[in-house]
Amino acid sequence: MDFRTLLLNEFVFLDGGMGSMLHLAPGELPERLNLTEPERVAAVHRAYAEAGSQIVYTNTFGANPLKLAGTGVDAAESIRAAVKLAKAAVGEGVCAALDIGPTGQLLPPAGQMTFEAAYDSFRTMCEAGAEAGADLIVIETMSDLLETKAALLAARESTDLPVLVTMTFTENGRTFTGCPISAAAMTLEGLGAAAIGINCSLGPKEILPMMQEMAKWTSLPLIAKPNAGLPDPITGEYYLTPEDFAEYMPQFADCGVQFFGGCCGSTPEFIAAVRKRLNNIRRGRRALQRPAALCSGTRTVLLDMPRVIGERINPTGKKRMKQALLDQDFDYLRGEAISQTDAGADILDVNVGTPGINEAEVLPQAVKAILEVTDLPLQLDSSDPAALEAALRIYPGKPIVNSVNGKAESLATVLPLVKHYGAAIVGLTLDENGIPQSAAERFRIGKKILEHAQKLGIPKEDVFLDCLTLTASTGESGPSETLNAVHRVRTELGLQTVLGVSNISFGLPNRPLINRNFLNMALTNGLTLPIMNPMAEGMMDTVRAYRMLAGFDPNCEKFIAAYQDTGAQNAAPAAQPEHLTLTDAVCRGLRQDAARLTQAALEQHAPLEIVNEMLIPALDAVGADYEAGKVFLPQLIQAATAAQSAFGVIKQHMVSQEGDSADKGKIIVATVQGDVHDIGKNIVRLLLENYGYDVIDLGKDVPPQKIVDTAIANQVKMVGLSALMTTTVGAMAETIKLLHQQYPECKTVVGGAVLTGDYAETIGADCYAKDAKATVDYAKTVFEN
């Protein structure tokens, strides 16, 4: 049976549970049965087909090469057998769907499996299934949106089969990894699923409101495959009868569900009961207008009011950011992401374009790093299509691509990427002839971009236009032409509008004043997505006030929440202790004071002088107290954090002065391959940086050779390795062995919960550090010699 023909039916009936029907013995692997006892599996398929299932799922839920590793069962072989036996069991009238379940591991930011590893495993499954003649592919019981994306892309890129995707949600309407229904729906539709829905999770009663929610976010056919109620906590048995289960189904039909089946605890009787109950019932009609929205893997941002795109992660005109990118110092990017998130940005722009950087390599790394610390959706900003594609692949959710323009080449290269990955797109209203002066001409180019996008199937609500801000100093009509173009795009085309706001004041004095006023004018003219610095004075204030005055803030709730304390603060400015020294501030762990006093000290002292005569004596004093048992870890860290903020100020100063570095030497720190417990290593890094060392932090789960290569490339004198698991100290030993072979002059220091001095010696480390302070002490001896 052809899937497209099936879709013409009012309802399509799937199957129910497979595991319980197979009556597995303890430890018995269901996927092995495809090869050893095919008849046992075929009998289940036949029972479902006889009960009225029009699509049966092959017995391949766990037939992922990653999951079957070590079991002696070959995934592709099991899949080919499963598809063939299913087709033979159910005959021509019923479709056999290749069933794909999760790998059981998590992808970033929650986990460490790479997108590529997940993708390859799913691709192996899809190729085997398609080769054996599967009629379609179903991806089910998914929790991690990025893993789901890997599976869906693998299916779409390696076969021509239709793909159904269902995810599993908990009572709070999110998956285990925190993915909301809205984000799942918009992402999976964008990636080309043929139908989407919810399976497993809970019983029909609990899933019904979730289906109603999902129906609002997608125009795709919907799938419901609930469990047979909730399991008994002691016996694990499901309690709903087939009739009780079926009784909920008309309500599912009402909200537009077309595909019906069951998951855990359901049997052929359930499918028969559902078919019977839905006889003579029609599917509810659905509104096809999807809301304009973006998402990350854990957060949806609805574009129903002006939303702020934070512009700080962009090296243009920012020396410190440029340096961070060249040094692969992703923590600096993470810090900027956190500051902008806290300041109130709704979306973050990510641009890594600077000479000396391979964008296709660095953009996806930056995206991963940023998503570790913020749940805001991102705007992928590059003129390099390869970089855009690399980032689009590993982005969990629906991002914005910035940008395409009216040039034929740009339209031909960027728009297909946007379509393939289901992103939204910013169109710049310029073309081969440059940026037009007039609003009318920019509007015309914008309209052309929209038409091209729509021709490729990119929905109108996903096309945003940037009518381009030119600096006001170039001509008095410039700002008004921009504003007129924004107004026309918003009112005549109904599209989202984007502008880089601060360009308006380039080359003029008192830029903040101009920026604020222009922002206000642009918002009033229909700007919906200002690209701006949310930390810049008055900018977020302007946005919040506009939202409130323009009716986007019911009961002024958000405005009041943002400002109700300002009165009190203005009335009583925080008392600043006058006699506080920088050394005191660090000893007492006062971050803001430490930064402020460092800024002041830089007016009279050289950076190195500040480090050696103020910061380090303070840290030494705290360190001595720590060793003497007078202060404990929290105070030590608090002082180190204050020193860190002082160093932040010094670094900023040095980059802008292009002076000599205050660094005392380079040290690599890394958590070894396989290990993801990072906090100990991060404490060590913090303290080493405090003492003026230039720390190259390679992060966690770092392959041995990468550590060695980095050490050699940077002529690093000392490498610090951390491991928290007995299973990963082997990787530590391997790293040290490689270092000894390839770079013997480098010193190694190791630490972590499972290490001991004896073990450190066994694996050939030069030093065992029982805590972060001990690492600093060792570094001093290495660099003084």
Partner: protein
């Protein structure tokens, strides 16, 4: 979670400090509140048959390795296998703090340790109520004594934990989300005199990790 569920003394133990200054205490209270808000504790358990064999012990058909776990279940015909996690948002909270404010990160880490213990305590209380055995052994986890951490994956699969509570294990046997636990508790009609204590069968002074272990330094 409720902040009052957490044992403050235990948090201080993980922080390696007998007390906190008033300003750090305020930071801790803030961290406890945020973490309790972010945490979505999920638990699962199974009561499984225990079989003692010549080579050791099996739980629900799964052979468990090492002498300690075998002794821990001496005389037990059934045991509880449990899994608990604070879920992904807690990991995200800690990741973020590691960049934004290390003091908070260290606090969150300690609070999360106490929180996952509290979740296990609550689950254990429920289990004891539902399955009225007079004696339960302590919660013993893979990695304690000679019960190898490499069995973590087997335990997670036996619980169907990825699907039931979103608890997964990496190829290197790390539980993810990170603030998670699996453990085995023997159920018995007699006191289990050979049952193992907290983290290993030995006294703390013999333990190779004595110097850095938070519990040993209580």
């Amino acid at each position: 979670m409720n902040p009052s569920d957490l044992d403050r003394a235990e948090i201080l133990m993980y922080l390696g400090t007998p007390s906190l200054t008033p300003d750090l205490d305020a930071v801790l209270e803030q961290c406890i509140e945020s973490l309790c808000k972010a945490a979505q504790p999920r638990t699962i358990y199974r009561v499984l048959p225990v079989t003692h064999t010549e080579t050791g012990v099996t739980l629900g058909g799964l052979p468990l390795q090492g002498r300690d776990i075998s002794l821990h279940l001496t005389g037990c015909k059934e045991a509880v296998l449990l899994g608990a996690t604070l879920s992904a948002p807690v990991d995200a909270l800690i990741r973020r703090a590691e960049v934004a404010d290390m003091t908070q990160a260290v606090m969150y880490d300690a609070v999360a340790g106490a929180a996952v213990e509290a979740v296990c305590n609550q689950l254990e209380a429920q289990i004891r109520q539902k399955h009225p055995y007079p004696y339960y052994t302590a919660r013993f986890s893979a990695g304690y004594g000679d019960f190898p951490i490499t069995q973590q994956g087997d335990l997670v699969r036996l619980l169907d934990a990825p699907r039931k509570i979103g608890l997964t294990v990496t190829p290197h046997q790390t539980l993810l989300p990170m603030k998670s636990v699996t453990a085995v508790m023997g159920m018995s009609h007699e006191p289990v005199k050979d049952a193992r204590r907290f983290c290993c069968g030995q006294s703390c002074s013999e333990c190779p990790y004595h110097e850095t272990c938070a519990h040993a330094n209580l």
